[in-house]
Point group: C2
Chain length 433, copies 2
């Protein structure tokens, strides 16, 4: 270790000093000896770009603070840039500028990677530097490295995950207490699990960005945020949760990336779904994240842990920092990204899964026969039907066998036209069986 400590330090620029950034700076100090031993040389914080000047940051010498991020990444003596400001611009320009000046980049910026990852991977490769981003997906859970490296000799067929802690907290609360969506959201907000504007979480944008990144790595192809089918959880009701429970299920917001059966395309989607209580993802509580990976040779793997938060995310950033610093010191670089399979992303209509459909119908003879005929017409095979009636109104719950999403959509369109169907109360996919 004395050998490591006596070498020239590697210089690190930190862009952004919020909850993750300040924790990264803190850990770089408290773990300095361990980092030096593991890398082979000390790492030194050489500059910290912040939005507002004039405010001291505990543990960070004032002279390191700057509001000029651009000048910092252009300094020329920086070995690694840690980008934690998020969003598309100026993050993208700062990262590419860092590459041009020979610095490797560690980032947790899921929005940017989901939007423009491949161009950035290529830019890093062109400049012979690294772009690492374990922190962009599921916080501290090692997921990018296992998919890019551990499973590099295998064929991943499916990634099925809970990638957003806020929505998992809300759904878990609804499941355990019988609360409705708004009530559960209020509790999440009060406890700090949901932001004042929860749109990015509850509408599934956050999970969709992570799904795009994971699908790209898992299938070695390009998947952008716009390619991901996205539905949020705002319309999930206490009644939906109760229906799920009656089926021995719970409701989770799932991100699902799949290779098509013929292997010629992939799909990526984020939506609420029922999963059986016997599935390991069903027992992921509160704001935890977990990801199931199915690979040809490895079989089923699961990765579980805290998906957000300053400390867990900082842990992921520092793991990447050690890797890129080692490359700076000893040569080599990370596996880079390959989109060599060039598999196209199929539309949601191609997705094949099961459905749980809840209908409000007139309570009279023959309704089930009409409804069943429409399913049959579109080749959507029915697994079970449950009828419940009172006072001339009745509800009909249909659970199907596996069918393409497009066929199910056609069924629902026709059901809506039936006189005897007063309304389609809910449609939910059933996964993990």
């Amino acid at each position: 270790m004395s050998g490591a400590a006596s070498r020239q330090p590697l210089k690190v620029a930190l862009l952004g000093c919020g909850s993750v950034g300040s924790e990264v700076a803190r850990l770089m100090t408290t773990h300095a000896d361990d980092l030096a031993a593991r890398i082979g040389a000390p790492v030194e914080l050489a500059g910290v770009a912040v939005r507002r000047a004039g405010r001291s940051r505990p543990g960070i010498p004032d002279e390191l603070l700057t509001t000029d991020a651009k000048a910092l990444v252009k300094r020329g003596d920086i070995d690694v840039v840690i980008e934690l400001i998020g969003g598309i611009e100026p993050a993208r320009t700062l990262i590419t500028t860092a590459f041009e000046h020979g610095a490797s980049v560690v980032t947790g910026n899921k929005a940017l990677l989901a939007e423009d990852g491949p161009a950035l991977y290529e830019a890093a490769d062109r400049h012979g530097v690294d772009l690492y981003y374990e922190a962009a997906v599921a916080g501290a859970i090692p997921l990018v490295r296992p998919l890019r490296e551990s499973l590099a000799g295998d064929k991943v067929n499916r990634v099925l995950g809970i990638l957003n802690g806020t929505t998992n907290f809300i759904l878990d609360k609804m499941d355990s207490s019988g609360a409705g969506y708004s009530e559960a959201l209020d509790e999440a907000t009060a406890l700090g699990y949901a932001e004042a504007d929860p749109t990015a979480d509850v509408e599934g944008y956050d999970a969709a960005a992570k799904a795009a990144i994971l699908a790209g790595i898992a299938f070695h192809t390009r998947v952008r945020l716009d390619d991901v089918h996205r539905e949020g959880i705002t319309e999930i009701t206490a009644a939906d949760m109760a229906s799920a429970q009656r089926m021995g299920c719970t409701v989770k917001l799932l991100a699902i990336c799949e290779r098509a059966a013929d292997g010629r395309s992939v799909t990526a989607r984020v939506h609420p779904a029922m999963i059986p209580l016997t599935h390991p993802l069903a027992s992921v509580r509160e704001a935890y994240n977990a990801v199931f990976v199915e690979a040809s040779a490895a079989g089923q793997l699961m990765f579980y842990g805290p998906g957000a938060g300053g400390s867990p995310t900082a842990s992921a950033v520092l793991g990447d920092l050690v890797a890129v610093c080692r490359h700076k010191l000893k040569g080599g670089n990370g596996p880079g990204e390959s989109a060599y399979t060039q598999l196209p992303v199929g539309p949601m209509g191609d997705v094949v899964t099961r459905y749980h459909i809840s209908l409000d119908v007139a309570d009279r003879a023959g309704v089930l026969a009409h409804v069943a005929a429409i399913f049959a017409e579109h080749d959507v095979s029915i697994d079970t039907v449950r009828q419940q009636g009172k006072d001339g109104e009745a509800s009909l719950v249909v659970v199907t066998h596996r069918a393409p999403d497009s066929a199910l959509r056609a069924v629902v369109d026709e059901l809506r036209k039936l006189d005897s169907v007063r309304g389609v109360a809910s449609i939910m996919r059933v996964e993990g069986e």
Copy 2:
């Protein structure tokens, strides 16, 4: 990809062609294009060392087969040696010979790494080649890479895992069916989960070797098989399992590697223990493996998957093959191993945990007072006591608060001397709370 395919192939020697080796050879053929794209050059099987000559292996050209493993690793044109013969010798000599001839090594040999890992890591480092071994611990579950790389910027405090599929199958069977140990072992043997001689599994040797490897990586120090306290599952009875269930627990064979509270030493141990049903490890069924990792910044992470079997283990081998081939092609090498913390391994007596002790006692007044006095004398605080009596005989179940193992041992020694204690029926640790 045409770029990758047109490069000089990297040459791979395979030592051992059993269930894992033959699967590695098969996947190298079926995934050849993917491997070439991910590595940047094709990989070619250049020789396969087998024990017995004259037998064809499906999918492997006869001219690649040899019984002279030593000559194969000395050929000089081999880039990577995959060692899957297991055991200490000749595996050790073959691996070091491979290093001397410039080859990197991928191995699944837990016995050798637990015995002599540090010397081998150093030898690899000295020769500027890689030693990778994801397959040595928990089959397909990415565990070595997450610990060595993803958590490289964090501080691991505890690793708690189910590392042996055979014993997990047996205990799961006992838990779900009420079967005794022998009956559950018979079923495991009949289904192929236990070998004809199950000693290495049921006595905990297999899990202890893996625990030694994990403890070394997690704490950056040297832990050998002999440093690991080891108890098997052969004495677990249906009554123990029933006691566990009464406490809302189940019994698992756990491997536990911990940093001492003062940070100055580590401990590693394998023994059966009760864990609460609410702990994620409690729901690991059949022959699956799972490992909980607790780190200062990351918090609690869990990794789950198939811990053995030809295909899953081959997946781990191929992931490592891609990594070491990339290094051969593009420079750099793996993180290597560091034992820089030089933390000593403490004795079992230093371990602090809770205990569940079952005593057969005389059914008369004053017994509990005598028993409780002995616990108090050794500062072992009692959490709960349950008494059950019939016909002059009674059982007393004591569950303690956390106490050092040495204190508990002293308590048990004195209990055995008490007239009113007819016998100590079982002592089991309680973990995961």
